[in-house]
């Protein structure tokens, strides 16, 4: 049923090596029954310019979100989406994308809300696949609809809402945005659109660990030892901590959520997807400016 895991030594160091595969593993297994590879990008047209042969497209903005409410699709919507992509409940779903796998990690996190059993990220994402000169295709697969059950979304374990964040004060929180966004000098990512936060700064008590610390130059994840030095050493987190991570709209913090939960094996990590676009616009929530938590 499920495909074999990637035996690469680097991955065996991680707490959950079954959650990550290399570009080589994907190349070796393309076309295997039971495997679907999905590309999830920031740029909605990037998939169309060429993608891993046979990969389907999974767009965060237009497919994983509810079109009206600021929320994700419900169980029926997710079942429909998965069915359309040819994904059934026992499919091994490998996600990859642009921008250091931000959106792929986001998609993986959303799929985790529905408890999809076998989810994996392709280490290094789209950039690494292309840098290695591997084949790309502009053919869009037309998968036969699969049976996918209507599973209720479980927001209790890996997702945090604003009220829960307010109740979480005093416990570990990680702000993964850029230093300028954290301090309040910037209201949005450098060179990115203003996405409408009225106030700048960070959630009181949140430590700044920009997401990019977890990524190597080639967009792959750093080794377990390197990640431990950053999150357990510098940031002082412990694997049994109850941790909340956030960014601006929840995509960069999905990357850090993946690192803490799956690569370092933390037991309780929640992504606050409302993130700064909710907090920075909320009336009378406390905000800290400057470089200290």
């Amino acid at each position: 049923m499920a495909l074999p895991t990637d035996p690469a030594p680097k991955f065996q160091e991680y707490a959950h090596p079954e959650m990550i595969v290399s570009t080589q593993w994907v190349a070796d297994h393309l076309g295997d029954p039971g495997l679907v590879v999905a590309e999830s990008d920031e740029d909605v047209l990037l998939y169309e310019t060429g993608h891993v042969p046979g990969a389907v497209k999974l767009d965060w903005h237009t497919e994983l979100n509810d079109p009206v409410t600021r929320d994700y699709v419900d169980g029926a919507g997710f079942a429909r989406l998965m069915s359309d992509k040819g994904i059934s409940r026992d499919t091994t779903l490998v996600l990859y994308g642009d921008k250091n796998n931000w959106w792929a990690a986001y998609a993986l996190w959303v799929c985790s809300l529905f408890g999809h059993p076998d989810l994996r990220l392709m280490d290094g994402g789209r950039a690494k696949w292309i840098a290695e000169g591997r084949p790309v295709s502009t053919d869009t697969p037309k998968p036969a609809p699969a049976d996918y059950p209507d599973i209720a979304r479980d927001d209790a374990h890996i997702r945090a809402f604003k009220d829960q964040v307010l109740a979480h004060f005093g416990q570990p929180m990680i702000d993964v945005r850029s230093p300028g966004e954290y301090s309040g000098e910037l209201l949005h990512m450098p060179d990115y659109p203003q996405e409408g936060a009225l106030r700048g700064g960070h959630i009181p008590g949140a430590k700044s660990v920009p997401w990019a610390r977890a990524a190597a130059e080639d967009a792959t994840f750093r080794t377990r030892a390197e990640l431990e030095a950053i999150y357990q050493g510098e940031a002082g987190l412990s694997p049994d901590d109850d941790v909340v991570v956030y960014c601006r709209i929840g995509e960069r913090s999905s990357h850090t959520w993946f690192v803490l939960q799956h690569l370092l094996g933390f037991g309780h990590v929640r992504n606050y997807d409302g993130s700064w676009t909710e907090w920075g616009n909320s009336v009378r929530v406390p905000i800290t400016r400057g470089t200290s938590p």
């Binding site: 920031e42 740029d43 909605v44 047209l45 990037l46 169309e48 310019t49 903005h61 237009t62 079109p67 642009d98 060179d191 990115y192 659109p193 203003q194 996405e195």
Partner: protein, 155 residues
């Protein structure tokens, strides 16, 4: 934000043709059309390729885009855009504006309705957030045209 009725604003014939082209294809092919536009964005002339600092950044686009506007003495407007190949959506938006506005008179460029991008039928396919970049490009083009019309001292 001021909102003007979209229906009453007339487009120049070239932009209207582009809007009609987008309107004539089914949803699924509309993204493909945007991709084709992105592939047709003309390369930068040497005077900008070697001098990116002479171009204006458009930070409202998801991926940094650079823009240059030239108004000739006879009021003809020329537009130059630069965006990386990993940003086909941004390139597509730039190419639409290039195809619809380059070579027109300054007054025709200034008359382009600000909500023009909403007529392409892309909001549901691309997401309104991503579309915002095109409106920002247009407003910066118009500002530069106005500044250059006002004279070189205003630049």
């Amino acid at each position: 934000m001021t909102s003007q009725p979209v229906s009453g604003a007339a487009l120049n014939p070239r932009l209207q043709e582009i809007v009609d082209d987008f309107g004539d294809v089914p949803d699924k092919d509309r993204l493909q059309l945007l991709l084709e536009f992105s592939q047709d964005l003309p390369p930068l002339p040497e005077r900008y390729a070697a001098h990116r600092d002479r171009m204006e950044p458009v930070p409202e686009c998801q991926t940094p885009l650079f823009l240059a506007v030239e108004v000739e003495p006879d009021q003809v407007v020329h537009l130059y855009f630069d965006a990386p190949p990993e940003a086909p959506t941004t390139r597509g938006f730039a190419a639409i504006l290039h195809a619809g506005l380059d070579g027109l008179d300054a007054d025709e460029v200034l008359a382009t309705p600000p909500e023009f991008s909403s007529q392409l039928g892309l909001a549901d396919l691309v997401s309104p957030l991503r579309l915002r970049g095109m409106a920002a490009m247009l407003s910066r083009i118009k500002r530069q045209v106005r500044e250059q019309q006002a004279g070189p001292q205003a630049q």
